[in-house]
């Protein structure tokens, strides 16, 4: 499988993960030091089973856990022009991109998908911190726009999981221009009166925080996520003093009125179902494990030619 076929052709994801055998069977929690077996860690959505520390999770793994039956259809993101500035630092940008694609198996730093959560049709977008630190360039901008357009077309809420170490510096000013571009995407959603829910994950920084990640109708963060415009190191250098414990972490922002909620990863799905249904005037979700929706129930088709899952049924707002 190469990233192009995965990327270009929307497909139903199998219940099996892309990378069957991880290189490391054990992961050490960087908070408490506990060695965690990869299956146990994956089952717990990359949250330490000992101390609750939230580790990065790929968009694909997140969507797999988020959508009913682990089933979602990727939304195609228009591919931007490659290396628009012909940027080169110690390494060529095109080489950095190629390496990131190889190690992640993904085309770029944001994945967009449609599917149902608790039988509530939504569009979701998730930023991939493992892909060049989730940095925002033309692709991420295109992805946010594509997600918004798809949500509007289907009349669904958009749920966006942010994660970014900052700007894609190799795209220079075009990286900066993603701030207004993605803001237009959010405005289109708002004008269509569709809910836009942001889940800020660790870390969400820089221009991403200062654009689409702070413009949600509801702002949720994962515990202890670093959320900031300027990073703590830059601030310490500027003001020449030590920052207080927990500064710019999710709970700190909640205390300062910058967020609606801080919710552990394991509870997010249920919360997103509830909030999207409340905002779109739908009855409460059935509180039980649901089988995969509609026609997919009896089919587990791993090929690209699989049927699309049932489109929005009667639950579209």
């Amino acid at each position: 499988m190469n990233w192009i076929s995965n990327y270009v052709r929307p497909r139903i994801n199998s219940i099996f993960s892309r990378r069957e055998v991880p290189e490391n069977l054990w992961t050490k929690c960087d908070n408490c030091g506990t060695m965690l077996f990869h299956r146990e860690l994956a089952d717990n959505l990359n949250v330490c089973t000992n101390c609750g520390h939230h580790m990065p999770i790929t968009p694909r793994a997140r969507f797999h856990a988020l959508f009913d039956g682990g089933i979602f259809t990727e939304v195609e993101v228009p591919e931007p022009i490659a290396d628009p500035l012909q940027f080169r630092d110690q390494k060529k940008y095109t080489d950095r991109l190629r390496d990131a694609r190889k190690t992640t198996g993904e085309a770029e730093a944001m994945l967009v998908a449609e599917g149902e959560i608790g039988r509530t049709p939504i569009v979701a977008a998730a930023q991939d911190f493992t892909f060049m630190a989730g940095s925002m360039g033309m692709h991420v901008g295109n992805a946010v726009i594509a997600a918004s357009e798809r949500a509007i077309k289907l009349g669904r809420p958009l749920v966006l999981f942010s994660a970014a170490g900052g700007a894609r510096m190799q795209e220079g000013i075009l990286s900066l221009m993603q701030m207004p571009r993605t803001t237009v995407a959010v405005q289109m959603l708002k004008e269509a009166r569709l809910p836009y829910i942001v889940v800020l994950t660790h870390p969400t920084t820089g221009g991403v925080t200062a654009s689409y990640a702070m413009l949600g109708d509801v702002q949720i963060a994962e515990p202890n996520a670093l959320i900031c415009f300027a990073g703590p190191r830059v601030i310490e250098q500027t003001i020449r003093e030590k920052l207080p414990e927990g500064f710019q972490r999710a709970e700190y922002l909640l205390d300062h009125g910058m967020l609606d909620r801080v919710t552990p990863r394991g509870k997010l799905r249920e919360e997103l179902i509830r909030i999207t249904r409340l905002l779109t005037g739908q009855p409460p979700a059935v509180a039980a494990e649901l089988p995969p929706p509609g026609p997919v129930e009896t089919t587990v088709d791993l090929g690209g030619a699989a049927r699309k899952p049932a489109e929005a049924t009667d639950t579209s707002p």
């Binding site: 022009i81 628009p84 500035l85 803001t183």
Partner: protein
């Protein structure tokens, strides 16, 4: 006169000419004018050659030149009846952002800009042009006012970036910038921006998401400072020359990328050598951009602004 490092040879020649003239003033009857004029000629030739081939990093230095005309100078020279309006109605008045009602060519407008200050006291007062959330929120308030009363908005951009401070973060720097950009994109009145010095990252884009963006010939606009980029990608802040080049942050590159619509020519040797001429050049371009947009339907103005940004970057350097 503040000389930049690459202007050292120039400083020597101009210094010699000045020295000669000073001697002549002290010794009446001594004729140095011929020699001094020759030195003047040499200096101006050197100026032409220096400034016709500025590197990206040299442009950064010119854009940050302490004697460069700042927002306040432009407002005083180009606008009448300037009536500053203060405060974000929430926490404070941020003096790094100035703005208010004014007339441009007799037409009522709202003008907003970053002000860096011109001496130690005013620089500290203005926080070196680095806005805190209150600055963006004041701008949002002024843009709202403009929108309600149908006044075009002119923004003058000159900031190293948003202020990386503890309080700024606690009071929602990110949210304030995001809302300011959002406000730019929702205005149904013309919004035009001129980058007069440094267009630093999110702090700049929050005011510069405009229908038309003009840049002074030696101004810069970038996602990150060359020093910051160098320390991250080269792991060495001293590689700012390479970073400045790679970032393509000059007005000329930004025009190729479709970010900058108009380049305003600067007087020989940069805006700081002849502020009046630089300011007049900006005035002319602002006037032209305003008349281009005058009389257009509000929704069309807003939609064309959104469309412009949505389409940005599609063609890379060939835009």
């Amino acid at each position: 006169m503040n000389y930049l490092d690459f202007e050292k040879p120039l400083a020597e020649i101009e210094g010699k000419a000045e020295e000669l003239r000073a001697m002549a003033r002290a010794n009446p009857g001594m004729d140095v004018e011929k020699e001094a004029l020759a030195l003047d000629k040499k200096a101006s030739d050197m100026l032409v050659s220096l400034y016709s081939g500025l590197t990206a990093w040299q442009k950064c230095q010119v854009a940050r030149h302490p004697d460069r005309p700042h927002c306040k100078d432009y407002i005083e020279a180009l606008f009448t009846e300037y009536t500053p309006l203060s405060g974000d109605r929430n926490f404070a008045d941020d003096l790094s952002v100035m703005g208010g009602l004014a007339r441009f060519d007799d037409r009522p407008v709202v003008v907003i800009g970053h002000e860096k200050g011109h001496d130690t006291k005013s620089r500290i007062e203005r926080n070196f042009g680095m806005a805190r959330p209150e600055g963006y929120r004041k701008a949002i308030r002024l843009m709202d006012l403009a929108d309600r009363f149908g006044l075009p908005v002119i923004t003058l951009i000159d900031t190293p970036g948003a202020y990386p401070g503890k309080g700024a973060e606690e009071r929602g720097q990110s949210e304030a910038i995001a809302r300011s950009t959002e406000k730019c994109l929702s205005l149904t009145v013309p919004l035009i921006s001129v980058i007069i010095g440094e267009g630093g990252s999110g702090g700049a884009v929050a005011f510069a998401t405009a229908n038309r963006v003009a840049m002074l010939e030696h101004s810069i606009y970038s996602v990150i400072s060359p020093e910051g980029c160098a320390s991250i990608l080269w792991k060495d802040a001293e590689k700012m020359r390479e970073a400045a080049e790679a970032l393509r942050l000059t007005a000329q590159h930004l025009r190729d990328l479709g970010i900058c619509d108009v380049i305003v020519k600067e007087p020989l040797g940069g805006a700081h050598r002849n502020p009046e001429a630089a300011i007049a050049g900006v005035g002319k371009v602002v006037g032209r951009m305003l008349s281009d947009l005058a009389g257009k339907d509000g929704k069309a103005i807003r939609d064309s602004r959104r469309k412009k940004f949505l389409g940005m970057g599609a063609k890379g350097l060939a835009a």
